[in-house]
Subunit: 199 residues, 2 copies
C-alpha cells in the first residue's frame, strides 16, 4: 500500500497527538506527562515513547501539525475567496470555538509562558508558526484597508501582531474570568476594525 503506516499504528499515533495537544492546551507543556496520555488511551507510558521517543519530539509534532492545519485552512478556496472582513471573522471563529470549549487557550498562549523552559526545537517551531500566522493576518488587514472594508491606523503588520496578541490573551482571560469577558474583548476588537456605516 502507499500509506506510510498500518491502520492501527496511524490511529494510535494520531490519538496520542490529539490527546497530547488537548493536555498541552489545558495544562501547559510542563504539567502534562506521558502517564496522562497513556492512562487516557488505555496503554502503558512506554507505548507513547514508541511513537514519540521524547517529549520534545511530541511537542514539536503538535506545533508542526498546527502549522500544517493553518496553511491548509488559509489556502482553502472557501477561505481565500472571502472578503477581508469575512476572513477576519473566520479567524475570530477559531478563537470563539476554543473559548466555548474548556476554555482552551491557543497554541501560542499555551507555550509562550513556558517558553524559556522549552527545548530549542520547539521554540523555533513556535516562532515560525506564530510569524506565519501574523504574516497572513497582516495581508488580510492590508487588503481590507485598501478596499475600505477594514479600518485601523499604523502598519498592517503591527496591527496584525496586536490583534493576534489580544486574541491569545483573550483566551487566557476566558479561562480566568469566564467566557463573557472573552466576548467583551472580541466585540471590542471587531467593532474597532469594522468601519462604522453611515447609513
Amino acid at each position: 500500500m502507499s500509506t506510510a503506516a498500518p491502520a492501527t499504528a496511524f490511529d494510535t499515533r494520531t490519538r496520542i497527538l490529539h490527546l497530547a495537544e488537548e493536555l498541552l492546551l489545558a495544562r501547559g507543556f510542563n504539567a502534562f506527562s506521558y502517564q496522562h496520555i497513556a492512562k487516557e488511551l488505555g496503554v502503558k507510558p512506554a507505548a507513547i515513547h514508541y511513537h514519540y521517543p521524547s517529549k520534545e519530539e511530541l511537542g514539536a509534532a503538535i506545533i508542526q501539525r498546527q502549522q500544517r492545519r493553518l496553511r491548509k485552512w488559509r489556502d482553502l478556496p472557501r477561505v481565500t475567496e472571502l472578503t477581508p472582513p469575512q476572513q477576519l471573522d473566520a479567524l475570530l471563529d477559531v478563537y470563539r470555538h476554543r473559548a466555548a470549549h474548556g476554555p482552551q487557550v491557543c497554541l501560542f498562549g499555551a507555550l509562550a509562558a513556558d517558553f524559556l523552559t522549552l527545548p530549542a526545537v520547539m521554540q523555533q517551531e513556535l516562532r515560525t508558526f506564530s510569524g506565519e500566522l501574523t504574516h497572513w493576518l497582516a495581508g488580510v488587514l492590508a487588503a481590507g484597508r485598501a478596499d475600505g472594508s477594514l479600518q485601523f491606523s499604523g502598519h498592517p503588520f503591527s496591527k496584525a501582531a496586536q490583534v493576534l496578541t489580544t486574541l491569545a490573551g483573550s483566551l487566557q482571560v476566558a479561562r480566568v474570568h469566564g467566557e463573557e469577558q472573552f466576548h467583551y474583548i472580541l466585540r471590542q476588537l471587531r467593532t474597532e476594525l469594522l468601519p462604522t456605516r453611515e447609513a
Copy 2:
C-alpha cells in the same frame, strides 16, 4: 521590638519571595521548584519550607504582594494626580520595564496558561488581582474619555479588559519574537487611545 520578626528572618523571607517571583515569571508555576530557590539562596530546600510550608502558600504570597503593590502604586499621590493619559502611560511603563528585563511576562501572563493546574487559593487570588487592575484602568479610561483626553468606543470596562489582555499578551510576544515586536504592539495601542491632534 514592634517588628514582626527578627531582621535575619525578614531578610530571608523576602529574598525567597523575590526569587520565587522571578522564577515564576521566568518559568511558570510548574517549572520552578524549592530547589531552584534554595540553590540560588545558598540554603537547603527545607529552609524554604520553613518560611513557606507549601508551594501553594508561596504562590499565594507572590500574588498577594503584587496585589499590595498595585494598591499602593495606584493610590500614590504621584499617580492619582496624573491626567488619564499620563496614568495610562505610567501603566505602560510598568510593562515596558518588564519587556526590557528578560523579557519578564506579567503575573497574569505567567499564571493564566497554567491556571487549571493551580491550587484553588491561587486561582481566586489571581482573579481578584486581575479584576482590581481592570477596574482601575476602566476608571482611568472613563475619565479620559469624559474629558476628551482619551478616545475609544464601547464600554470603559470592555476596553480596559482588552488593553490589559493585549499588554499581558505583548510580554509573551516579546519573549518569543523579541522586544521590537512588543514596542510595535504598544505603539499601536497608544496611538489608538490618544486622540489625533488636529493642529
